[in-house]
Symmetry: C2
């Protein structure tokens, strides 16, 4: 029997976002791989530990901490810096795999859904070139779903498309657009006549949401985001842009 | 105190897709509104009842069945036929609301996530013109997440956008595209050089997935889909189209 790696979506921040499938998966694991991303993201790590304490009842299931390699932000070539970083991560994941008993099961706990703007699956694919193991993916609630639930809106208009992109790629907004990973605050350059539905720390007690005409609320979002980021040491936010009406 | 309506996402078909938040929400409700969509979708209704039986432990929580008005497919104007149908649904939802005790709580159980290609939120917005009540939305696992988990793939490429649309609107595929609600099998008209990741009855024991070069597998998907639809009396499927490599 091969070793098995579970990639388990644990939701967008609310510990109650976890699914019954995810709880059962975590309780099947010998080892839960817990990343240490440094002090600035300590409350995220605490939230992950809180989830483990609440839901993992199998006494055989242990936690294994590991240090996460840091991406070289100084490299001017984005694709290259991500590629190098993924190599370093694949090598780290290889040692986690080696820590498992033969035919044992390890689990990564991934914020949101493992398929949406998360690199775990891709890094495990890279590791497959050198290691033989099975992968099972458990879906999780994403920040997109937490965003629309918090605003009480549907993501799409009737029969209309939705575009999901990153701040880096937010050039034009032809369709209703969800923007993830926007460190550049790209919404400041979008059409001020658009409606924005913005949210940060979605699903957590620190959740903040702001909506309105982009031209009217953009500055308030920038200031709120900046203040919250200083207070927490980190921020995770996402937003929907759409034509009004 | 106003009455409260909970719109609860219950996942894409696997009863274990349900979240702890959804379980707690269902157990807060006085009434669970259970749609009757006729014999052809009886196994979907059974699945919904199975979820209630598994997870609802509050003896005060009762089920209330209601007949779902049918959309007039003969009306040539799509927008108009949806509009009329939503009016009929809003009126039906009004009588469900009236069945609640004062300051009571009712819950709709919605497949997938209430924000993604589901009309419940929109119909409740319509009902707000005549009734005063609070709405709370509980996110759920969508068929998109079930699809990528089943195929063991990430939805997006590194830093790249994803487009979500319907079969009706699948004109061109500039970005990687998720297609929902494709009764027309629009993928038959897409570039045969694209890769397709297709899935039906995702998350259920009847799950079927097919992937490959579109030109190679399109016919197999059409035949598989047709046979499965005849066997079950209904089908729910979705797929991802993307350029290979």
């Amino acid at each position: 029997m091969k070793r098995t790696i579970l990639v388990v979506g644990i939701g967008a921040g609310n510990p109650e976002h976890i699914t019954v499938q995810a709880i059962n998966a975590l309780n099947c694991a010998d080892l839960l791989f817990i990343p240490d991303k440094g002090a600035s993201k300590a409350d995220l790590a605490d939230l992950r530990r809180d989830i483990v304490e609440r839901y993992v009842t199998n006494p055989q299931t242990k936690m294994l901490d590991y240090a996460v390699p840091v991406r070289d932000m100084a490299t001017p070539d984005y694709g290259r810096s991500v590629d190098d970083w993924h190599d370093a991560l694949a090598s780290r994941f290889g040692s986690l795999l080696d820590a498992l008993p033969e035919s044992g099961t390890g689990a990564f706990l991934v914020w949101g859904d493992p398929g949406l703007y998360d690199s775990t699956i891709r890094i495990l694919d890279r590791l497959r070139q050198t290691h033989d193991f099975a992968i099972k993916i458990i879906p999780g609630i994403t920040s997109i779903q937490a965003l629309t639930a918090a605003h009480g809106i549907a993501l799409n208009r009737i029969g209309e498309p939705v575009h999901i992109t990153t701040g880096r790629r937010l050039e034009s907004t032809k369709a209703d657009t969800i923007v993830m990973l926007d460190g550049q605050l790209a919404f400041r350059n979008a059409d001020p006549g658009l409606e924005i539905f913005w949210g940060a720390y979605l699903g957590t007690p620190d959740e903040i949401i702001i909506s309105g005409r982009l031209g009217d609320v953009a500055e308030r979002i920038v200031e709120t985001r900046q203040a919250a980021r200083e207070r927490h040491g980190w921020i995770m936010d996402t937003y929907l842009l759409r034509k009004p009406g």
